[in-house]
Structure formats: structure tokens, C-alpha cells
């Protein structure tokens, strides 16, 4: 058996590459690491001190309201980073990411419900909503959820497996663009309807609430709240590092190549299916964990988290901040949600108009989002 010759590139008299080509850039600059460290220290030391130790009448004291709000927003920031991985870099718009966030929240919520013990209204071993439905025992899928570690496993597995299976069939059938976005909307909508039903066993439209404790710590306790807050901040920092590591690797370049020219990539010998599926599943798992951190801080999870509008909002955070950039999504989630809490307190009826207007303005005038402005200012200064 013969083999046709592999095309040889003629040997060249030692050609020099410009220096530095081919060596990956540092994960972060020294300044970047310093900023990250400062962030981690403020969420894990500074905020807890200002919240717990500094007395209430001191002007440096942080209120429980503030800690909860910022904790919640940091969860959203992670969701935005996860969305950016799949949409910003790989170019796959998901309008159903809320479902992964909510499923992570529900998975951990099951554990929190069981930790209520007999402190519910009906003083039963079952959650109040089950007593109300006249159920005598937990349905099978609630088995083992009283174990903390098992609940954590569910937090990862439920969104992960759902995303993997859904993604496998969608990507294998080469469903793309707006079609993919529409079926992800359908996915989250279907789950919302399912969770709205009382006999699904997740509390119907009230969902889960009135949590009492995690492990042996009372949730209302400031120390518990501060710990949850710190964990969320550290998780956010870790996801940021992870994103940067992926983007900087060859996988990152392949993801953007999928976004820009999937054909060229396939004909270069890559199977985009596995790249898409990996990053899609990772993105869903990151959202699930964020959901699990969100629920005990906010104190409630219900099916409205899975409403199609919620998932669209996630895409808006990323677009506003700047998709396909490292920090843009974090900035976008923080800005939009900061504005949201201001609006819903002061002019609740205008919030959706504002959000819509913001989205239109950004799409028309700021293709690179807010981070685009920052970059432009920096360049002008240089």
C-alpha cells in the first residue's frame, strides 16, 4: 500500500517569527491580579466586617438590604459571564439560560426545604405545600435531598445533564442562530409551565420559601448571610479566572472561529459539535451553581425565574456590557440590575420601558457595549 506524499512546505532558510508570537499572554497582568485580590478581600473581609461588626449607627455600616442586593447581583454577574462564554465567544445565542439558573436554585432549594424540618406552618415533616396537597410522603425524586452534598451534586448535574442532552440533539442537527434561540425560549417556557403545576412537587407558583437553615446555621443570622455573600464573590472571581483561561487557550480561539466561520473550521478538521457542547454544558453548570447561591440569599425561588422574559434579560445584560469581552458582561449585569433595583423602588411601572430603550440604544450605538466606551476613552487618552 502506497501513501500519497504529504505536501511539504519547502524548507526555508531559518525564517524568524516576530518575537512573542505563539507564546500565550499571561492569565492576568500584575494589575489584574491585584484588582482580583482586592475584590476577593473586600467580599470576604471588608463587607462582613462592615456588615456584622461595625455598629448600625455608624455611617460605614452596611445594611442587610445592601448585602442581599449585591449578593444577588453577583449571582447575576456569573450568569452573564456564563452567557458570554456561549454567546459572546461561540456566537450561540441562548434565550433560555434562566432555566439552568432556576434548576440549580430549585435543586439547592429542595435541601433548604428539608432543613425547615418541623418549623413550617403545619409542623409536619413535609413542606407546607405538600401538606396542603394532602401528600403523605416525599415523592421519589426528593430522595436524599436532605443530604447537603447530594444537593450540591444535583445543583451541578441537573442543569448539566439537561444542557448536555438538549445541546447534543440541537447541535448535532446543526440548529443555529435564531432557530436555536427560539427553541431555548421554548425550553425555559416548558419548564416554567411544568413547575407552575402543583402536582409537579415543587411548590407550584409559590415555589420554595421560608427557609430556616443551611447545615446547622440559621439563614437569618448575619454571619450566615456574610458567608454566603463571601462565597458568591469568590465564586464570581473564580468564574472570571476560568473564563479568561478558556478564552486565552486554543479552545477560546476555536470558539470564536465557530462564531465567525464555522465552515472553515469544519473543513480544517474540527468537529464543532464537541466544542459547542462542552462550552454550552459548562455555561449551564455555572448558571446552576449561581442559582444555588442565589436562593438562600434572596430567600425564594419560584417558576417566574424561568419566564422567557428573564432569559432575554440575561442576554441584554451581556449586550449592554459588551459581548465577547472579559469584563463587559459583569459590568452589564451590575449596571442593569443596579438600575433595576432603583427603578423598581422609585418608578416600577417604567422599568420595562427603560430596559427596552436601553437595549435598542446599545444595539444601535454601542455594538461593543459599555466596555466599548471605556476602551475608546482609554485609546483617546493614550
Amino acid at each position: 500500500m502506497n501513501q500519497a506524499q504529504v505536501i511539504e512546505i519547502p524548507a526555508m532558510p531559518a525564517v524568524r517569527l516576530p518575537a512573542g508570537l505563539g507564546t500565550p499572554p499571561a492569565l492576568f497582568s500584575v494589575k489584574g491580579w491585584a484588582a482580583l485580590l482586592a475584590f476577593v478581600l473586600s467580599v470576604s473581609v471588608l463587607v462582613p466586617v462592615l456588615f456584622i461588626i461595625v455598629p448600625q449607627d455608624n455611617s460605614f455600616h452596611l445594611s442587610a438590604y445592601f448585602v442581599t442586593l449585591v449578593g444577588k447581583i453577583m449571582c447575576y454577574c456569573v450568569v452573564a459571564l456564563a452567557m458570554n462564554l456561549i454567546w459572546g465567544y461561540a456566537g450561540i445565542l441562548s434565550l433560555g439560560h434562566g432555566v439552568f439558573f432556576a434548576l440549580g436554585g430549585y435543586a439547592f432549594g429542595m435541601y433548604l426545604m428539608r432543613m425547615i424540618g418541623r418549623e413550617g406552618q403545619y409542623q409536619s415533616d413535609l413542606p407546607d405545600f405538600m401538606v396542603f396537597l394532602d401528600w403523605k410522603a416525599y415523592p421519589w425524586y426528593w430522595s436524599f435531598t436532605e443530604h447537603f452534598w447530594y444537593a450540591l451534586l444535583l445543583v451541578v448535574l441537573v442543569p448539566g445533564v439537561l444542557a448536555f442532552v438538549f445541546g447534543f440533539f440541537a447541535f448535532r442537527s446543526r440548529i443555529k442562530g435564531v432557530y436555536f434561540a427560539i427553541i431555548t425560549q421554548a425550553l425555559t417556557f416548558a419548564f416554567m409551565l411544568l413547575f407552575f403545576r402543583n402536582d409537579t412537587g415543587f411548590g407550584g407558583n409559590n415555589g420554595f420559601t421560608d427557609f430556616k437553615r443551611i447545615l446547622d446555621f440559621r439563614i437569618a443570622e448575619p454571619a450566615t448571610r456574610a458567608t454566603l455573600f463571601a462565597l458568591t464573590g469568590i465564586y464570581l472571581a473564580a468564574v472570571l479566572v476560568l473564563t479568561r483561561a478558556i478564552v486565552r487557550s486554543k479552545v477560546g480561539r476555536i470558539l470564536t472561529a465557530i462564531r465567525d466561520s464555522e465552515n472553515r473550521l469544519m473543513f480544517s478538521g474540527y468537529n464543532p459539535l464537541w466544542y459547542k457542547l462542552s462550552v454550552w454544558t459548562l455555561s449551564a453548570v455555572l448558571c446552576g451553581i449561581a442559582g444555588a447561591l442565589y436562593v438562600p440569599q434572596v430567600g425564594i425561588i419560584n417558576p417566574s425565574e424561568m419566564s422567557p422574559a428573564n432569559s432575554i434579560e440575561i442576554a441584554i445584560w451581556v449586550a449592554v456590557g459588551g459581548r465577547g469581552t472579559l469584563l463587559g458582561p459583569v459590568l452589564g449585569a451590575a449596571l442593569v440590575n443596579g438600575a433595576k433595583s432603583f427603578f423598581t423602588q422609585s418608578f416600577p411601572e417604567y422599568w420595562l420601558f427603560f430596559l427596552g430603550l436601553l437595549f435598542i440604544l446599545v444595539t444601535l450605538f454601542l455594538p461593543k457595549g459599555v466596555i466599548g466606551i471605556v476602551e475608546m476613552l482609554r485609546r483617546n487618552r493614550a
Binding site: Q3, A4, I9, P10, V15, R264, S268, G269, Y275
Partner: protein, 273 residues
């Protein structure tokens, strides 16, 4: 057995490839590509109509034909983008192209340049070549991939060959049309394919670039197989061994350029107009 220089099996399979047809292509019967009775219809319209074509290993074959003759569709069939309604397509003696995905076909050793230059516009010239380079292209390998010095040298040599050394850091989207064509050819070479399909490689190039491309193809000549679809007769005259004329999805004439140029049917459907 063959006049072609061979590459050791160890070398050609050393770059562990994904779920792939491994090793090289079996060209023991001289031919590297067999298309037999390939038919492709789009809504009843036959873009390819019982197309039969054999390409020998080491050949440089030019394919000409009027617009809509089915040249691009033929490349789509060979590279797995389009499945034929009937007929068979084999790469060497053993590899059935109609059963493989685009990525598997690329791994098996077929590289393709599109009619419209297709490069990764938001990546640098260097990164374009890096992504195309023959290597393990599965997710896990890509996570850990680092370029070694042999790979860097390969990229440097290719940059030099396609005359883009000075543009290595430039985004590919900022290159001129002709430079993009060259970059795409460079990407194909990085894949180390055994069969190169080039769809209108000099379209949009200046005369000088066209000349340099002809030169490049000649330097690459010798032992490897190239199929070029072109309209530019001057370019074809400068490189062609054997020319195949496609018309309405099947072969109208085949032979040396002089022979097909003087074929009355070819003059009628193509050259005469």
C-alpha cells in the same frame, strides 16, 4: 511501486487525529479520487448529473466550465458538505467520502479552499495558520495545546511561503482580497492534505498576485494532488497538465488544454461565448 515519494506511516499518523480514518490514503491503483455516477439534485434541478471523474495521485487537474456547471457542487460532494443523491465517491481505494463528516474528510487528507475566501477574520494571520495546523483537534487536546518549536517553524515557513511574514500579527479581516486568498492557501498547507481542492484561487487577484500564485502551485508540484477550478484561461495555461470541462453537471471533455480548446462542443458551450 509508485513514483511518488512516500511518507512513513509513523510520520503521517503521528499527529493523533480525532475519530478518524487513520493513516494515509491508499493510492495503490494510482488514482487518489474516484467519482462515479454522482448525481445531486436541488428541487429537481440536477446540479450534477451522473458525474464520473478519476484523479490520479500527484496530478494537477484543472476544471473549467461555465457558471452553474456544477464545479462548486462537485467540491461540496468531495468534502462532505453535500450528500449525493446517488453515485459513489472514494478517496483512494478505501475511504468512502459519502459516509464521512466534513471534519473527518479534512482529517483523512482533503483540504479545500472556498470560492469566496474564507479565513477567520477576527484572528491574526498567525492564529489562522495555528488553527489550521495538522494536530489533534479534539477538545481536550486543544485545552492544553502549546506550540512547540517545530510547529512554530512550520508556521514561520508557511508565512514566508505565502508572503505574509510581515502581517503575522495583523487581523485576517484587514488583509487585501488577494492576501486572504493566499492565507487560505497557507491554511490548507498547514493541514498537510494529500488532496487540495482550490475553488477559483486567483479570483480577485491582481495580475502580479496571479503570477505568483501560479509560481506557488508549481513549487508545490511534484508528488501531490491538486484540483483547481478556474476561469482564468491564462492562469490555466500556465499550470495545467490535464483539463476537464464540466457542463450541466457532467464531463464534456477532458485532455490537454490544447485538445479541449479545439473541441467543437467546448467552443460552443464555453469558450465561444
Amino acid at each position: 511501486m509508485s513514483a511518488l515519494p512516500t511518507v512513513s506511516a509513523a510520520e503521517s499518523s503521528s499527529a493523533a487525529v480525532g475519530r478518524v480514518v487513520s493513516g494515509g490514503v491508499d493510492t495503490s491503483h494510482r488514482a487518489i479520487l474516484y467519482l462515479e455516477d454522482i448525481t445531486v439534485s436541488f428541487d429537481g434541478f440536477r446540479a450534477l448529473d451522473k458525474l464520473t471523474l478519476t484523479i490520479d495521485a500527484g496530478e494537477l487537474r484543472c476544471i473549467i466550465g461555465p457558471n452553474g456547471a456544477g464545479k462548486t457542487t462537485m467540491m461540496d460532494v468531495i468534502t462532505g458538505k453535500t450528500r449525493p443523491d446517488s453515485g459513489s465517491a472514494f478517496f483512494g481505494q478505501t475511504i468512502d467520502l459519502t459516509r464521512l463528516t466534513e471534519a473527518e474528510i479534512a482529517h483523512a487528507g482533503i483540504g479545500r479552499k472556498f470560492q469566496k475566501p474564507t479565513v477567520f477574520e477576527n484572528h491574526t494571520v498567525f492564529e489562522n495558520l495555528e488553527l489550521a495546523m495538522k494536530t489533534d483537534k479534539r477538545v481536550r487536546a486543544s485545552l492544553r495545546a502549546r506550540l512547540d518549536s517545530a510547529q512554530l517553524d512550520r508556521i514561520a515557513a508557511t508565512l514566508d511561503l505565502i508572503r505574509l511574514s510581515g502581517e503575522a500579527r495583523k487581523l485576517a479581516g484587514l488583509l487585501s482580497h488577494g492576501q486572504k486568498q493566499w492565507l487560505e492557501i497557507g491554511m490548507l498547507l498547514m493541514q498537510e492534505p494529500q488532496l487540495l481542492l482550490l475553488d477559483e484561487p486567483v479570483a480577485g487577484m491582481t495580475d502580479e498576485e496571479t503570477e505568483r500564485t501560479a509560481e506557488l502551485f508549481k513549487t508545490l508540484a511534484g508528488g501531490h494532488t491538486v484540483i483547481v477550478v478556474e476561469h482564468d484561461m491564462e492562469f490555466i495555461a500556465s499550470i495545467a497538465d490535464v483539463v476537464t470541462v464540466l457542463h450541466e453537471g457532467s464531463v464534456l471533455a477532458e485532455g490537454s488544454l490544447d485538445k479541449v480548446k479545439n473541441d467543437s462542443r467546448v467552443i460552443e458551450v464555453y469558450l465561444g461565448r
